[in-house]
Amino acid sequence: MSGFVAEEKRSTGALGVGFYSRYLRSMRSMAWMGPLLLLLIISENFFANGFRWLVSLWVEGCSGNLCLEGKPFEIPVRRYLAELSPQRSLSVLVWFVLFAVFFRAFTWTFVTGFLARGGRSLHDEVVENLSHVPVTFYDENPTGRIVRRFSGDYANLLVEIPNYINDIFGCIAEIIWIFVLVALQAPLACLACLPCALVYLRIQANFRPASREVQRLGKVLETPVWSVFTESVAGMQTIRAYGKADEFHKRLGELQQRYAYAYLTQNRMTRWLNVRLKMTSEMFGLIVTLFVISALARGTLGAGVAGFLMSLSIGLDGTMQWLTRSFSMIDSTMVSLERILEYRNLPREGFASDSLLTSSSHRETTRGAELSFVNLSARYREGLPRVLHNVTTTIPAGARVGIIGRTGAGKSTLFQALYQMLDMESGEVLINGRSLAERTLAAARGCFAIVPQEPHLFAGTLRHNLDRLGLHEEVRLWEVLKAVRLADYVRTACPGGLDFNILERGGNLSVGQRQLVCFARALLMDTPIVLMDEPTASVDLETDAAIQTAVKELFQGRTLLVIAHRLETVQDCDLVLVMNQGRLVAQGRPEDILPKWMDGSDSNALLA
């Protein structure tokens, strides 16, 4: 398999506008929700400065001529506050603050919740799409890699990206408000904003690319630290048997030191940023203060509004810092979105003609069906070498067929061909004379039941494991359990009976019992053809006997194909197929085939 494990996508470079548009476009109803979200964010960010503004009007009251000559938009507020009794005005402020808190909480929840909902619908689309990709996809991509899309990447989509977007827009809105408020109160002081904004942009432009690179290096350098730590703990016995404990200890120290370079540099750069942003915001504060002093000296500004303007720079550096941070964080999470979108757009499997066929095409009802391979050649996917070469044979209805051959001879590939999981180069498979290609994928697969070599069970109830779709009556489930001789065990030893909870990978049943559950599952499917990959795992003698009997009795009358690992199994068969390197090299009755193929040393290899 190692030959064609595909490379994984890596993060590169900075975010373009493309990212935001792809992200936002992937969400439904963004067209009308977008402006609403923006409106919410902008109003939410008014409150902190709005509070100071209100307080400044309140503290100044109508002293002097402020209620007559002040800014037109301020006069009604001033009058209103001045007319209230002190207690009433205080309660107005209290209500204002409470509303601010509520509105802030609501906006944040709403914005991030809405974006997260978009993430979830992407998740669902990925799940849907993965259920249709060709099954070889799962060979090319390690489980860990696929699952990471659903853990780390999805968590980014659900939590991180919505937060960053909320923060970015929030910070921008706050800066805009500061600008607007300054412009309204002291239009000249606006001049202060311009140089500060330029300096901020400059600092940002220096910081972001370098920070992104160092962060990336940090991640690259941190992984080996923990992998050496983990493997030296796990492989401790080998390591100390060779007397290499110090080597690994030394290595850990070296890797930590290499990681330290990235970690400490990253930190120092952040400190660099903090100091400069603080300077910028203080500069802004200073310039505004100077304007305020001149206005105060000329008497064109009240002390309250003056205080308000001077307090604008409080927390401004924090806002700028947060904005920069959010920008760089969203840079590093973007790859998550890319990876999820990639999985949403994978090509699907299925016959080209699938859409032409009705899904209710007829089901084989006969117990046992004739199965023929006609000149079948196949490969895992286009561009890879052939794994089946011109396989031609006919298996009569109800026959027991043993398939033998070395490891890698193409025995299990034959099964995959039946399940239409390969790329068929030429030839076809007929069931009762009708080609599989004339059926829908689901109907074609519905002709077979399979007992896999690994008795794989799923976490969940026993019922779930037998009949996940809930198609069968309870009586029928007990019937099949009885047929595989598990009914008594389930009744007595499994609390809950059919609702007995099976652990992940069937951990709380023995290997033999798991095997029997797999038989029951195949039996329940009631298909004309049963495929079976005989287990090689060692089970105790009793279970082994039970399994052998089960195979003989249970599938009586059905066409049974067995990949055989035991002499006994092959001897009992009606027909033996010998596979070698993807070719069917011999077929016939066991008494004809076996002596020829089983003499001397070859026997072991053929049944491997």
């Binding site: 100071r52 160092v214 290499k244 603080k278 205080g307 550096d317 399979i450």
Partner: protein, 671 residues
């Protein structure tokens, strides 16, 4: 001002960064050469690590913590003074306070001077603060990496029994999470918490000066924030726990679905899985929504708390019938903002303190486990003192043999005996096979000989010869289970375990188990590695790897099959060229053809006598090669002898063989 990162930033502006870029930073070097006060090794402070780990860290970091405390106190004081000066500017122009004695021009001049001072003070405070934070991150890094390194080294020296109690995942978690909590506690809470007291009392005192008694109301509301945020943090943890459960439920489904992708399609269950996963995702989303609401309210409240504090002051004005003035009001706002910044992390301090204590306890717990040398000493296995000094002398490695006398070994996990009174000798310079069914105790026997498992009764003795100073040979008998003997054996033995160990490193590094620097020349090494690979029948496999010997194995590299891993492990043993070889069923995952080749190249050639080989196996082919066969069953030796003796009719081995021939033709004839 941290301008020393300027060149790096400039160079990374237009091109991707490389690891070498980071080396250009001198201050990182400075940090490594910086004096800190950690003991050189965990051994030096083991007794203290076992009882009070926090004190070990405290001792080592106390100086840097003290420095951080002073810096932080100064920077907070600067911010307070700056706020006071800003208030003074307003004061000059406040109509309520008629400062008629000062002329208008003087007022402007004074206030401009004050404004500039405010600017300078704030920038100074920010720079100090940044330095303090840089020290914080240093402490975090130093504490965590030191603890992780100690833990790792300690585990590599632990007794096997003790190790069995700690799953690898738990140990990694200790180093990643618990060590981090401890580190964060020291870096942040240990300094900020005392500073908090200083700064809060300062600010309240200053407020009292400016606004008078209403300052008390502000203090009251501030303190009120503590229980409120603790409540939110408690609620958040509960909500988060439920979210994790739901997210795990979804991931379990996804993992099963992906792992059994073929089966799911075989059975036609795909759509059902899709439905289940979707509904799990929906449940998770709804919980996440709750959590989002919670966080938003909690943050919304804490970021707006300063407004409530300011309102408290205003209410105080009303209550105490004080007259409000603009400068007082804004002083209240400024100071409460500073207070708010100081108080915001308080609930986090409380949480990190408790997490650090839990983490420390967990780490102490693992450090309390016995290391091998302690375990041996406790059972009284010691090399005779007159021999200890001669360990470094020349040792005739060809003559190592073992003797077991009535050895009983128990599984720590179940205290079931795994070996019951085994008495047997292992001859020097020959192949000894240990056979028996699964669970007979073959591995345990090997591990006991290697000193990994310690017998509860009986003795395991090493017989060897050492050369005296007068070049005469002296026979010695040492107990295997002693620190000195083990250290010694580990220079002469190799071991091929049942489950091969593959390091996440290149093939070139995996075979010698030695990490290489990028600059190191590897030609000589390569020849030896290639030889070892050829002997272990891995040449063609490695040849097909994308980067040959440089192919990275493990984590992100090529996934080896079980058989390839075993052959890699064999190649490692060949490479080591040691006179004593322990093989724990290394051929279980290779096919019979390869098995034959391996036996030919290794047992018949590479490790032919006079190499001492112990070969545990449950396959019966090639047993004739062994000079001595030990048949184990249920922890007891049932038969000992040569192939000729044991293969005759009537022997236990013969019984096993003949019963197998009749019934099954399983792969390679297994017991």
């Amino acid at each position: 001002m941290f301008s020393d990162v300027n060149p790096l930033m400039a160079s990374l502006k237009s091109r991707p960064g490389q690891e070498q870029d980071l080396n250009s930073n001198v201050w990182v070097e400075r940090i490594f050469t910086d004096k800190h006060h950690y003991p050189t090794d965990w051994r030096a402070s083991l007794p203290l690590l076992r009882t009070s780990l926090m004190r070990v860290v405290m001792r080592a970091e106390r100086l840097s913590l003290l420095k951080m405390f002073s810096i932080h106190t100064v920077d907070v004081s600067c911010s307070i003074v700056a706020a006071l000066l800003a208030v003074q500017v307003l004061n000059y122009f406040d109509p309520a306070k008629s400062l008629s004695s000062v002329s208008a021009q003087e007022r402007v001049a004074y206030s401009v001077f004050l404004a500039i001072s405010v600017f300078v003070l704030n920038v100074f405070a920010a720079s100090l603060h940044a330095q303090k934070i840089e020290r914080e991150t240093l402490v975090v890094f130093r504490v965590q990496t030191t603890l992780a390194r100690w833990l790792n080294s300690f585990v590599l020296n632990m007794s096997r029994d003790a190790k069995a109690k700690f799953p690898t995942g738990d140990i990694v978690n200790l180093a990643q999470t618990d060590a981090r909590h401890i580190a964060e506690f020291f870096a942040h809470a240990a300094v900020d918490f005392p500073v908090l007291f200083v700064s809060v009392s300062l600010i309240v005192a200053v407020m009292w000066q400016i606004v008078g008694p209403p300052a008390l109301v502000a203090l009251l509301i501030l303190i009120l924030q503590i229980p409120v945020s603790m409540f939110f943090s408690w609620l958040g943890q509960r909500l988060h726990g439920e979210l994790m459960r739901r997210s795990d439920a979804r991931l379990t489904l996804v993992t099963e679905w992906v792992q059994a992708a073929r089966l799911v399609r075989y059975f036609g269950w795909t759509q059902q899985f899709v439905k289940d996963i979707r509904s799990a995702a929906k449940k998770e989303f709804l919980q996440d929504l709750k959590l989002k609401g919670h966080y938003s309210s909690s943050f919304g409240l804490s970021t707006s708390w300063w407004m409530l504090v300011a309102l408290g002051v205003f209410a105080g004005f009303l209550w105490f019938h004080e007259k409000k003035s603009a400068s007082q009001v804004f002083a209240a706002i400024w100071l409460s903002s500073i207070l708010g910044q100081q108080l915001n992390p308080l609930p986090w301090f409380v949480r990190i303190l408790s997490e650090a204590r839990v983490g420390a306890r967990r780490m102490e717990n693992i450090f309390q486990a016995k290391v091998q040398s302690e375990e041996f000493a406790a059972r009284g296995f010691l090399v005779p003192p007159e021999h200890v000094h001669s360990l470094e002398e020349i040792f005739d490695a060809r003559n190592i043999s073992f003797e077991l006398r009535d050895v009983w070994v128990e599984w720590q996990e179940s205290s079931q005996p795994a070996l019951r009174g085994v008495s047997v000798t292992i001859p020097a310079g020959a192949l000894t096979a240990i056979v028996g069914p699964v669970g007979a105790g073959k591995s345990v026997l090997l591990q006991t000989l290697m000193g990994e498992m310690t017998p509860s009764r009986g003795e395991v003795l090493l017989h060897a010869e050492i050369q005296n100073s007068d070049s005469s040979w002296q026979k010695i008998v040492w107990p295997v289970h002693s620190a000195q003997t083990l250290e010694f054996l580990r220079r002469y033995q190799t071991f091929v375990p049942q489950e091969a160990f593959v390091a996440a490193a290149s093939v070139r590094e995996n075979i010698p188990l030695r990490y290489l620097n990028a600059s190191e020349k590897t030609e000589n090494l390569d020849t030896q590695v290639v030889n070892a690979l050829a002997r272990a029948q891995l040449s063609s496999d490695i040849g097909s790897f994308p980067a040959g010997l440089s192919t990275e194995l493990g984590e992100r590299g090529v996934n080896l099959s079980g058989g390839q891993k075993q052959r890699l492990s064999l190649a490692r043993a060949v490479f080591a060229r040691r006179p004593l070889v322990f093989l724990d069923d290394p051929l279980s995952a290779v096919d019979t053809e390869t098995e034959d080749k391996l036996v030919e190249a290794l047992l018949k050639d590479e490790w032919k006598p006079p190499t001492t080989v112990l070969w545990a196996t449950h396959r019966l082919a090639h047993l004739a090669l062994a000079e001595k066969i030990v048949v184990l069953d249920q922890g007891c030796v049932v038969e000992v002898g040569s192939w000729l003796e044991l293969s005759r009719a009537g022997s236990r081995l013969h019984q096993i063989l003949s019963s197998l021939r009749g019934s099954s033709l399983g792969a390679g004839q297994e017991l």
